[in-house]
Symmetry: C2
Subunit: 236 residues, 2 copies
């Protein structure tokens, strides 16, 4: 039986900060925990969006690829879709959408949003894959491509995590996007004019899986890092 009340997470946002970018879960394993999700590849290899069980990667060239079962990821979320319709929106910006959703639902539990519609403009990014020895998240993320698109139809797939989980997860909203024609997407930096249908799926459980077989992770001393400070610099 699919566990539709559970959000699965592999890795933590924190482990990306010092550059622990080994892929520690395969796409095959991630898909055992859901048919919907987001993530990034080993070495921050692009931005992933999983829809209806199909894992799409937006790479740093802006190309959209379907990745194979043995593609590995350092950090990812997945869940089994069972969304319910929440509301319709018309010409909302990202901050207007975030605010509207939080006025309609609790911000004290994890949930996913799926917004299908038209975006008058949207800005995304995808990082270029780096190789070992990895640099820090801040350094690695400097090597990113930024993409802009006007008048695009597609799906915004988002996760919301309560602030107390910031650092383990992405506190607040984390939006990825994939266009209907599979030619555009990535980690969302901002959008305007979103018009469409908003669906929501609330979770009561976070299944947080850690890469305990990865020695670099297990032996790492995080105590010298201002993890939250670094995250907020890199994510914004």
């Amino acid at each position: 039986m699919a566990k539709t009340h559970t959000l699965y997470q592999h890795g933590t946002l924190a482990l990306l900060v010092p550059g622990l970018l080994d892929g520690t879960i395969t796409m095959r394993e991630l898909l055992e925990h859901g048919d919907t999700g987001i993530g990034t590849g080993e070495g921050l290899d692009g931005e992933l969006v999983i829809l209806d069980g199909v894992p799409y990667q937006v790479d740093s060239n802006g190309d959209v690829n379907v990745v194979k079962d043995d593609f590995t990821l350092p950090f990812a979320n997945s869940h089994f879709a069972e969304y319910r319709r929440l509301t319709d929106i018309e010409k909302l910006s990202q901050s207007e959408l975030d605010k509207k959703i939080l006025s309609m639902t609790s911000n004290n539990t994890f949930f996913s949003l799926k917004v299908h519609g038209t975006f008058t403009n949207i800005k995304t990014r995808a990082v270029k894959k780096s190789h070992k020895p990895y640099a820090t998240l801040g350094k690695t993320a400097e090597n990113q491509s930024i993409f802009l698109k006007e008048s695009v139809e597609g799906t915004l797939l988002s996760y919301y995590s309560p602030q107390i989980f910031d650092g383990a997860a992405v506190g607040g909203f984390h939006h990825h996007f994939l266009s209907d024609d599979h030619n555009f997407g990535g980690h969302v930096l901002g959008f305007g004019g979103a018009t469409g249908r908003v669906e929501i799926q609330q979770f009561d459980t976070l299944e947080q899986h850690l890469p305990i077989n990865n020695k670099d992770y297990m032996n790492y001393d995080f105590s010298d890092w201002d993890i939250l400070g670094e995250i907020h610099n890199a994510e914004n």
Copy 2:
């Protein structure tokens, strides 16, 4: 099949801070996720230690009671025991034990310790149950009893959580104790002279369950609180 790599947690440490002390899981439900665990009752009603499937409560009178299936808790951990022997210790204080364990295992994942042995002295506490409307954690915890015991045999049951989960869980070590004669125990404030056998069980997964059916929790605005600051005041 028992999931011996999973630590189950109901509620968060953070929700106790403003006084969201409703019992939101029954002991029956908690025991479905483990035969070993710790927690506190509704209104901070004592300190729980679950050993071999039996849930013992140390109340604010210092009495040890086996609680019933319908006993409810706002915050608790449980897991299915599959410990392995780690080391033997002789006359260690709490801080010496913590330090020794962290020199032997990774501090980047969740684990449980079970130390059976003799303690030349140990200090515990248990809070007196409060009733609605609840005061804050700081106020409620002022109404606690402190117990001291010399030369006692028993079991120290502990959980360790990586610092990035501080606030959701208790970052670092969280020790509870129950004497072999079931006459003494509680939340451990300190000990000296611990001699005995140390067992460890490492987890790769935190199953974090949130009380999404509790309106007080779901509607609460945590944004005005310095949650971590309040926790560190109350837990130390």
